[in-house]
Symmetry: C2
Subunit: 136 residues, 2 copies
């Protein structure tokens, strides 16, 4: 079986771009600049399932996305997490955090979900900005 993106990830996120190893998704949460990296390898569940020969690439992509989001929002911290209790397919959250964001200093998962999903022109503009910053 080849790699297939879990449908819940496709529903909850907008696709940003394909990096060498991972597909970068944008979480539809207006409160945070939040990217999810999904390595395009079939059968991965936990972070340590990434084969050793692909780990440097994943780390590079975390660095690329962290830098891009950090510059856009002038972040105080970058949160990186592979949880996957709801969607077991490996996906790595990269979230730019600021001391004035709605859940600081708690993890973003400590608060209820956003009232409304990021959509339309606002979603498109944010996605475009992140794609530009990733490619610089």
């Amino acid at each position: 079986m080849g790699f297939e993106m879990h449908p819940r990830l496709t529903t909850d996120c907008a696709t940003l771009c394909d990096l060498p190893l991972s597909t970068a998704l944008l979480a539809r949460d207006p409160r945070f600049h939040w990217v999810i990296l999904v390595p395009r390898i079939a059968g991965l569940r936990d972070l340590h399932d990434v084969p050793p020969e692909h780990r440097a690439a994943l780390f590079d992509e975390i660095e690329t996305v962290s830098g891009a989001l950090g510059r856009i929002v002038d972040a105080d911290k970058i949160n990186v997490a592979a949880l996957g209790n709801q969607v077991s397919q490996l996906h790595v959250h990269v979230i730019a955090r600021r001391r004035d964001d709605p859940t600081w200093p708690d993890p973003v998962w400590s608060a209820p979900a956003a009232d409304a999903a990021l959509a339309g022109a606002e979603l498109a503009a944010r996605a475009q900005r992140i794609k530009e910053e990733i490619s610089t």
Copy 2:
């Protein structure tokens, strides 16, 4: 300045052992088998601050700890996260999760802190078990 462990990490955790790159701490939370890896390099904040030549070692140590905790509790998922909004020094949470644990499928941070910290003989026994499993 050399590496110094943040005192909050020392207070909140028990020291398990030194791995080649990181010091492994045990979170004093009775509800979860929860290890925190702290790379012994001064000045690290975010995950991508780990110098490229040390990234494979960190990944190896995440794998070692994930395997150990996973075997001990017969885990359904391993959660790995570098957050650090409260203690900015880089530390990587590795938490074995089970479908019957108190916060599943939410992240462990979604629930209030445990009523009582793991201590005494129970802490010592858990630490010993994890150390043995890490070294196998």
